[in-house]
């Protein structure tokens, strides 16, 4: 009896973007914007994962998801306009199309952190990849110990998610400290670098997990400060940034020693990358 060939659907091509439509655009600061994308179908993701966003005719860049993981039909991204692709994305408006691949990568250890005090430290636009974790912690607040967020920015005008910062500041049982590097006389908050504010948070270093996102020089300084405070390097998690292209570990652009930032990260346990961070060639 002849075998019948079953119709089969080829697996989705991970290099082919799907079409999404921009539904909301928010100007956060002079060079930072946030937009929501409506994907063709619900796209579940974990806090800390990223998508490849394609500005048609210009190019594709990796951008962490900055929205809530419990709304998979809306993908929020927060972007600083620093290059041709991000600048092109910043010129889009509601109704425009954006190509999307993802989500990719390993996110924040929000499940692993249950029962622990949790510290989240963001510098500059590094608050954006942390925001899904913050939403998660707030939504599942009872599952965690003390929660503290430190956020550093250049000036008050560079702060992002300003209305939410106010909301979080008023949230009971939630510690938020914001520091800017310089400020005019109207600013009554903290001025200075972000790491010294660690001493202002209440947490048990022997029972805490920390998540850091920001420029690499800040990650290194903050991780050392956390270690000095008594948090084990295996409980410090950092989100790394490298030149990602394929996002699936094939092209090697984001290779970081034995790791690929795109598929082994972007979130890495600090004790697994701390020695690699010392190599300037990587």
């Amino acid at each position: 009896m002849p075998q019948t060939l079953k119709a089969c659907t080829p697996p989705p091509n991970p290099m082919a973007p799907s079409m999404t439509r921009l539904t909301r655009f928010i100007r956060e600061s002079a060079d930072v914007f946030t937009f929501d994308l409506a994907p063709e179908r619900a796209t579940p993701f974990a806090p800390g994962q990223f998508n490849m966003l394609y500005a048609f005719g210009v190019g594709e860049i990796p951008i962490s998801i900055s929205g809530a993981a419990d709304a998979p039909d809306r993908l929020t991204h927060t972007i600083r306009a620093v290059g041709p692709v991000s600048a092109a994305l910043g010129r889009l408006k509601a109704g425009d199309q954006v190509g999307l691949r993802g989500p990719f990568g390993v996110g924040w250890p929000v499940e692993e952190a249950k029962g622990f005090d949790v510290l989240l430290i963001g510098g500059g636009i590094g608050l954006a990849p942390l925001r899904p974790a913050i939403y998660w912690l707030l939504r599942h607040r009872a599952a965690y110990g003390r929660v503290g967020v430190l956020y550093g920015a250049r000036t008050p005008d560079d702060l992002i998610f300003v209305s939410e910062l106010e909301e979080w500041r008023r949230t009971p049982d939630f510690q938020l400290r914001v520091a800017v590097e310089r400020a005019g006389p109207d600013w009554t908050g903290d001025v200075g670098y972000v790491t010294p504010l660690l001493s202002k948070l209440r947490y048990d270093p022997g029972d805490a997990i920390a998540m850091i996102c920001g420029p690499e020089v800040m990650i290194r300084a903050t991780a050392l400060a956390l270690e000095d405070a008594g948090i084990a390097d295996s409980r410090i998690f950092v989100s790394m940034e490298r030149n990602m292209k394929c996002a699936i570990g094939h092209c090697g652009h984001c290779q970081f020693g034995p790791l690929f930032i795109c598929k082994d990260g972007p979130v890495h346990r600090y004790d697994r990358v701390r020695d690699l961070l010392a190599y300037r060639e990587l």
């Binding site: 951008i63 636009i125 400020a183 009554t188 903290d190 920001g214």
Partner: protein, 154 residues
């Protein structure tokens, strides 16, 4: 009512300080209260005092003509404010302005320098307490000077 030695004893600055030294330096200290907007010292003026902040916050600032005062550091409760009293010509480098109701222990710098000169052990105790926060502030100032927050697109 607590005397100045009691207030000093409860400040992190005095941690590990023996009673004799604590009483000695308390002789150069007084309790002060500052309202928001009060200046603790002004840029270019004689640096004849330093402060241990008990409550409140103080902005260190410099004035930019046409743009106003710019703050580069907030000093908060439990911290030390003022290091220019330590080195000649004892002149304040920046403005220091209370941004909220602030309570502090104010030290007469000249008085304390005299006691440090007379007893190097006291001077060493002071150095051990001043150098760590100053080094940390220097490290932070370097990071601020690099302006790295705008270096990424996460």
């Amino acid at each position: 009512m607590k005397d100045i030695a009691d207030l000093l004893r409860h400040h992190p600055f005095a941690e590990g300080l023996d009673e004799e030294t604590l009483a000695l330096i308390a002789g150069c200290a007084k309790n002060v209260v500052l309202q928001p907007g009060d200046y603790l010292h002004r840029e270019g003026a004689a640096a004849d005092s330093f402060y241990l902040l008990r409550h409140g916050a103080v902005a260190l600032e410099t004035f930019v003509p046409g743009r106003g005062a710019f703050s580069f550091l907030t000093v908060k409760s439990g911290e030390i404010l003022g290091a220019d009293w330590l080195i000649p010509p004892y002149r304040s480098s920046f403005d220091a302005r209370a941004v909220e109701l602030t309570r502090a222990i104010s030290f007469d710098g000249k008085c304390l320098r005299g006691k440090c000169e007379a007893d190097p052990r006291v001077g060493y105790e002071m150095m051990k307490r001043f150098i760590p926060p100053l080094v940390k502030r220097l490290q932070s100032a370097r990071m601020q000077a690099l302006g790295m927050y705008d270096a990424t697109n996460a």
